[in-house]
Symmetry: C2
Subunit: 277 residues, 2 copies
Amino acid sequence: METISENKCFGGTQGVYSHTSAVCGCEMTYGLFLPEEVEFGPVPVLWYLSGLTCTHENAMVKAGAQAWAAEQGIALVFPDTSPRGDGVADDDAFDLGQGAGFYVNATEAPWAPHFQMWDYVTEELPALLFENFAIDEARQSITGHSMGGHGALTIAMNLPERFRSVSAFSPIANPTKSDWGRNQLTAYLGSDEGKWAANDASLLMREKGFPGPVLIDQGTEDQFLDLLKPEALADAIATRRQEAIVRMQKGYDHSYFFISTFMEDHVNFHAEALYAG
Amino acid sequence: METISENKCFGGTQGVYSHTSAVCGCEMTYGLFLPEEVEFGPVPVLWYLSGLTCTHENAMVKAGAQAWAAEQGIALVFPDTSPRGDGVADDDAFDLGQGAGFYVNATEAPWAPHFQMWDYVTEELPALLFENFAIDEARQSITGHSMGGHGALTIAMNLPERFRSVSAFSPIANPTKSDWGRNQLTAYLGSDEGKWAANDASLLMREKGFPGPVLIDQGTEDQFLDLLKPEALADAIATRRQEAIVRMQKGYDHSYFFISTFMEDHVNFHAEALYAG
């Protein structure tokens, strides 16, 4: 593992590190914020999964999460959104290939050799972090934006024992019914739609739900509402009687100005779960 | 004036606008955050001047200032750091020419035709803002980072009636004695050092001071300490018995992670002055 940078930030440290990923077959870079409390023992951790076109860096510099994580004594992890590099398959579209891993394990050519983002985010990167930093594996929560909101929700519902709470900012909520989903799931997983269901938050919510609290924020002026389909997830949550808060935020769009506005609420929401019991 | 973008942010609006600048002879772009209180009448304003290589955008997306400005009901202005465009002089160095206007009016070739950043920030842009937005001309304060901290301090001390308070993050504090200053002042103003004094915060502090409160934050691990020379400004402040808080912040560097950490303090510091009396 190589240290790219470490900056003091809100009393803690905002680091950027790279490592050779076995599952993705390339160098991967991630951001990690550690609050100053890490000096006294393992701290809880909140995973933040980013959206299309993002790297590890966008949320790390634009979401303003460190202010609240420092206040709560929580670590933040910012993984990249896909494998990268000259030898890694790509596509001219911004929403397929590099920067658009969709947090799935690709089974189809040309993606399968590198696009193993599910295993990367749920296995390889956690193992690396718990080995190298004082982060408490027993206290994890997860959030994300857009494609990363999709990732956070699907990962949390598939690994219900691992995460105490899950939230999302304007998630891609029903990808099996959206052009943000059908194109990518076809490319990465093939055209058999039966293999897509484990990667659709609304279907998962209908089928199994989540054992902890859920928080969803969605701007009413989001330019991608037709692709995100928050109504499918809201319906599934209500139908299931899932413990959840779903907020339609008047006037907000899809940008980091929206995310930063409500980041304090999300960090505090997760802190309550992470420090419970 | 053209609207580039407007995003809802912390209940207010983060806008980006461009306009034809007469003093700079080119299109100029700026960011403006208006808190929701603007609907009920003119709001106080805090100017934020950015550092080398920055545009209007860096602080707007990375400093986290909107959270605190919204809480205090204060507008934020993010001007660009220089004139820009194909017809505008430039230099290969990152610290001269485009992105490095140093907030002075250039008198020398090839800079004089466009590099009139003092007049732009103190006359043309304020006039444009007060004409187009509900901002209270009687309640202004100013801050900035690095080259922008130099700008904030020199502008405030040269226009003591205009600003109620001034602060700076790691300012270029003594440019007439630094390679961040001597090179640029020679290029923009010529080699007669007598013409430089009005653009040096430490000399101005020694000569005239500032009638309101001053706040300076400087990281002890700043990689540019030798160029910034905070000791000259600290000495001048103490010698003058200027009302001021000068904080050497242990472990922090020159980055936006440092700025965002202490932004709440700066906005609240200015709010106290802006809402006094």
